[in-house]
């Protein structure tokens, strides 16, 4: 599904790059990426989401090289992914429901169907009762969950999540991970970056550990 082949990404005068990374994430896998800050987790995600281009090497998605796409080709590939950010990145002047339905609007899904699916996604993250509120009236953890609902609503083939439980209490963290697991169970490939090693161990999925831009374990 996702394959890195000798990927190096260097930033001038700053940390956080990758060095000679080769790895393979198979379709339907759920993988955690861990490592201290500056280890290269974010860079790994950016390369998959096509926000960065590798300095050397190739990144493959479903067998095709995405490391050098033209900017006009990126949107359609990106719509096949669900992205969850550390900062939830919501549209503050739209309702929670509209925020969640946004990827569907962009895809041309009819509004009734989009609302139906957005309601279902909000139900999964336990926020259905807040669908008509504005994002700024929600707590940080709730906003994060809205971000997750938005990432899963279009049933993408891949979900990339960067510290999705960063601002959430442990109980809710586990619940959110269960949401990801449910999607994984129906075949979605999931890649989650997290510091929460306890949670990672508890869930028992494959873990890729990065250190100074190198993969130190991917067992």
């Amino acid at each position: 599904m996702i394959r890195f082949q000798n990927v190096t990404k260097s930033f001038e005068g700053s940390q956080g790059g990758l060095s000679q990374v080769s790895l393979h994430i198979r379709p339907g896998e759920m993988v955690f990426v861990t490592g201290h800050s500056g280890a290269g987790k974010s860079t790994l995600f950016k390369l998959i989401a096509m926000m960065e281009k590798p300095t050397r090497g190739e990144v493959f998605l479903n067998g095709s090289d995405i490391s050098d796409l033209r900017s006009s080709q990126i949107p359609s590939v990106r719509r096949q992914m669900g992205l969850v950010f550390q900062n939830p990145h919501l549209l503050n002047h739209r309702t929670v429901l509209d925020n969640v339905a946004l990827p569907l609007y962009l895809d041309g899904v009819r509004i009734e169907e989009a609302h139906k699916r957005a309601n279902a996604a909000l139900d999964k993250v336990g926020l259905h009762h807040k669908k008509n509120q504005m994002p700024l009236t929600l707590s940080t953890g709730e906003q994060q969950r809205v971000g997750i609902a938005r990432a899963v609503v279009s049933r993408p083939a891949i979900i990339l999540a960067d510290e999705p439980t960063g601002n959430v209490d442990p109980e809710m963290s586990l619940e959110m991970m269960r949401v990801f697991e449910n999607f994984n169970a129906i075949g979605t490939t999931i890649l989650i970056a997290t510091h929460d090693l306890g949670l990672v161990r508890q869930l028992g999925h494959r873990v890729i550990t990065l250190d100074h831009g190198r993969v130190v374990s991917h067992g």
């Binding site: 995600f45 949107p75 990145h89 041309g108 899904v109 960067d162 075949g187």
Partner: protein
């Protein structure tokens, strides 16, 4: 995961296309509505910048239309000295006829002159009391269309004035030519002011949209991360620029009509000294007014395109993770 491209769940492509435009149109208006004070000021400044050259153009164009036709204005009247013989007059007419730039000539004898004068002014009784007809013999000249500038006409005038037997030469409406030159100046001013202000409008629109972009940077990022196409992201901004153009254009039309209403009386007084009847239509000319609206929309569109082109897609490398 394969998407279910079921017809009932997705909009048909054409419907989706138009729906996208409609949503962008509404969203673009919403963007203006969200910041009413700032946008209202921008609209006012744009409208003033449009209305000024619009007024110049309107006046110059309108006055030109009210003037008598050029041919009539260029006609000359040659007054002959008293006591010329019929032969001498015929000879003079021939000489003038052969000059370059003359279309036709006509001799008007003092008695014919008196008849024509009588048609316009009932003074026949007064003239009858005089010992003799005081009117001179006159040769009326129509210059050819080729003779179409004031310099050429003045040269012709001088040449004729130097002929033997000629007393004075008068151009029928010399002031018409002067007014025409004045309107040319006004037109030129309209073009210069128009070009300068068009540039100002472009910069102003660009700046307004650039500020919107800065304020909405996060929202635009969200759209990009969700895989919105370039067109989808640009559309609301372009429509926002379009709305600015429409509102500024309509306001400019209103300002132009108001200036027209303020100017109509003093201008009418001025023009009456030239015996020109003022038509209110020159200030309320639909073509000019809608032309201003159209120019406003086109400039706004270009200004918006200029500012979004670079700003939105400068780089893909915005930090999110």
């Amino acid at each position: 995961m394969a998407k279910q491209q079921s017809d009932s769940l997705y909009y048909p492509p054409m419907t989706f296309f138009f729906l996208g435009h409609f949503r962008a149109l509404i969203y673009g208006f919403g963007q203006l509505w969200r910041r009413p004070a700032g946008n209202l000021m921008t609209i006012f400044v744009l409208a003033i910048a449009l209305a000024l050259p619009g007024c110049f153009f309107s006046f110059a164009h309108g006055i030109k239309q009210m003037l008598p036709p050029w041919q009539k204005a260029a006609d000359m009247t040659v007054y002959l000295k008293d006591g010329q013989s019929a032969d001498a007059i015929n000879q003079l007419q021939k000489t003038i006829n052969h000059m370059q730039g003359i279309a036709s000539t006509k001799v008007i004898s003092p008695s014919q002159g008196l008849q024509e004068l009588n048609k316009e002014f009932p003074i026949a009784d007064i003239v009858k009391q005089l010992p003799s007809n005081p009117l001179p013999t006159v040769i009326a000249i129509s210059p050819s269309q080729l003779t179409n500038n004031l310099q050429q006409l003045q040269n012709l005038n001088q040449q004729i004035a130097q002929l033997p037997g000629v007393d004075t030469v008068q151009m029928a409406y010399q002031w018409v030519q002067q007014v025409m030159h004045l309107t040319k100046v006004l037109s030129r001013v309209a073009i210069i002011v128009g070009v300068i202000f068009a540039l100002a409008i472009l910069l102003m629109i660009s700046n307004t949209i650039r500020l919107t972009l800065q304020k909405d940077k996060q929202d635009i990022q969200v759209f990009r991360f969700l895989g919105a196409s370039r067109a989808t992201i640009l559309r609301p901004l372009l429509y926002q620029g379009l709305w600015l153009g429409i509102f500024a254009g309509v306001l400019a039309m209103i300002i132009m009509v108001m200036i027209g209403l303020l100017m109509i009386h003093p201008l009418n007084d001025l023009l009456q000294t030239f015996q020109i009847q003022l038509h209110a239509a020159i200030f309320f000319n639909g073509c000019t007014l809608f032309g201003v609206l159209l120019v406003s929309i086109i400039l706004s569109w270009i200004g918006t395109r200029l500012s979004v082109q670079r700003a939105v897609f400068g780089s893909e490398n915005d930090c999110v993770f």
